[in-house]
């Protein structure tokens, strides 16, 4: 049987998503029952871009399942510096590990990796492409906060380069969700993400200000404008700091509004929001453990 990869949120059906969310819920309810599920299995972490939470979250999830982790370390100290191709790197790691978690600066990197190995590949972010595991923990948090049916979600910030946004918009199209996209004109969704939403029959509402739709929202998904994705510094400066939300800004919002953020935040969410009931972002981050445990069990659960 071919290995089960997790490459893109666009490839996930509603059933796929719901299966992961229920598995994660079961794990969160009784984590001890899962502590040996992946004993003696090894997860290879290949992060070609800096990462704190995603890397640590995968390591924590694997270890909480009784498995081990091997980490390529930073690109500066690996053979990538010597010019090794990704295709070669993953084939080498295939000899060491039972599954690969890959973060890479180029779009499509996880797809390429999956074509060269016979072990599962999990995309932990490919350039401005996709970040499906982040999306699953986002959906888990939305389900927990307000449910996933008949809701309005506002996605704010870098819709053009933000891979968490591309994955989230695709996955939300599987549910009865009104999507409000809030971005400056230069950071709107790329054509291909819009094409998928159109093909799925999703009508999106576009705004340049959060205020235009805030009162209608059940979820406000903030994102960082990512300096590292901009081809030119002037373009970045023109939009940096475009969206900031403080506790005062949220006074007109629905009482149950959940504010999410894939983190790290810079200044998109003021610290005074942390103490309000709207702050779900740290909970969201913590939910990454149960969701990634569920995903790892799913792809590594069978015997090798």
């Amino acid at each position: 049987m071919p290995p089960e990869h997790i490459l893109s949120a666009s490839a996930l059906t509603r059933d796929d998503i719901e299966e992961v969310l229920s598995a994660a819920e079961a794990i969160a309810a009784a984590p001890a029952a899962h502590q040996d599920r992946l004993a003696h299995r090894l997860l290879g972490l290949l992060f070609f871009e800096p990462s704190t939470r995603t890397r640590m979250s995968f390591a924590a999830a694997m270890q909480r399942l009784g498995g081990g982790v091997i980490d390529m370390g930073s690109v500066d100290t690996s053979s990538v510096q010597k010019g090794e191709s990704l295709a070669d790197t993953v084939r080498v790691i295939e000899g060491y590990a039972d599954a690969i978690v890959l973060r890479h600066p180029s779009e499509g990197a996880a797809q390429v990796a999956s074509e060269f190995v016979d072990i599962p590949v999990i995309n932990a972010g490919d350039g401005a492409g996709q970040h499906p595991t982040q999306t699953l923990l986002d959906l888990y948090t939305i389900e927990e906060a307000v449910g996933l049916e008949d809701i309005a979600v506002g996605i704010v910030g870098d819709l053009k380069y933000g891979r968490t946004v591309h994955s989230l918009a695709a996955a939300l199209s599987r549910f009865d969700v009104d999507q409000h996209l809030i971005a400056p004109p230069s950071l709107q969704l790329p054509d291909h993400v819009r094409y998928d939403l159109d093909s799925a029959g999703v009508q999106v509402h576009e705004h340049t200000d959060i205020e235009a739709c805030l009162e209608e929202l059940d979820v406000l998904y903030m994102t960082r404008i990512q300096r590292e994705r901009f081809p030119d510094e002037a373009e970045y400066r023109a939009v940096a700091g475009a969206y900031r939300v403080s506790a005062a800004d949220l006074t007109g919002a629905r009482e149950h509004l959940a504010v999410l953020h894939p983190l790290p935040r810079v200044d998109e969410i003021a610290a005074d929001v942390d103490a309000t009931p709207h702050a779900w972002y740290f909970r969201q981050s913590a939910n990454g453990i149960a969701v990634r445990m569920a995903l790892l069990e799913q792809v590594l659960g069978g015997s090798r």
Binding site: S8, S10, S85, L86, A87, H104, P105, S106, E107, G108, A109, Q111, V112, E115, D126, G127, A128, G129, P190, D191, H192, Y195
Partner: protein, 155 residues
């Protein structure tokens, strides 16, 4: 002898690519990697009057039969083209191009940040959608009209 024959003479062995939309002949030559430097005999007719389509382009290439990958890309920019294989001055085979469901190789992805542009040992693959191609790797969309600009390096 008709005006058309004067401009585009018969070939002995090779391929005639006919019923190309007017203005696409040079793109077809680019798809075939023909720039005249390899010595092939090539005849090109542009804006030739035609019964089937008002005006058309036509390309005749001596001593060359096309690969399926080449025909697939031609089909994207010239969906009603016909390919005539000529052997001994006679039409040995005549086929209409068919729009493929996918195109492999031949084209490069225009997204500089796509993994296919990073020296990895992978062949580009595009799914053919209505009016667009879609990169299998970065999922980016390319309008059919942009196809001639995306011929892979070395082709």
């Amino acid at each position: 002898m008709s005006d058309r024959q004067l401009r585009v003479s018969k070939i002995r062995d090779g391929t005639v690519i006919d019923h190309l939309p007017a203005g696409t002949a040079l793109s077809v030559l680019a798809i075939l990697g023909i720039d005249g430097s390899n010595g092939e005999g090539v005849s090109v007719g542009m804006n030739v009057r035609s019964g089937r389509i008002a005006t058309k382009d036509i390309v005749k290439v001596e001593g060359r039969e096309l690969s399926q990958e080449e025909v697939d890309v031609i089909a994207i920019i010239a969906p009603v083209a016909t390919i005539n294989i000529i052997r001994g001055y006679e039409v040995a085979e005549k086929t209409r191009v068919e729009t493929p469901t996918a195109v492999e190789g031949v084209l490069r992805c225009p997204n500089p940040n796509c993994i296919t542009n990073q020296d990895e040992p992978v062949t580009t693959r595009f799914r053919v959608l209505d009016g667009h191609l879609r990169c299998r790797y970065c999922r980016g969309l390319i309008a059919d009209a942009a196809v001639p600009d995306l011929l892979a390096v070395g082709f």
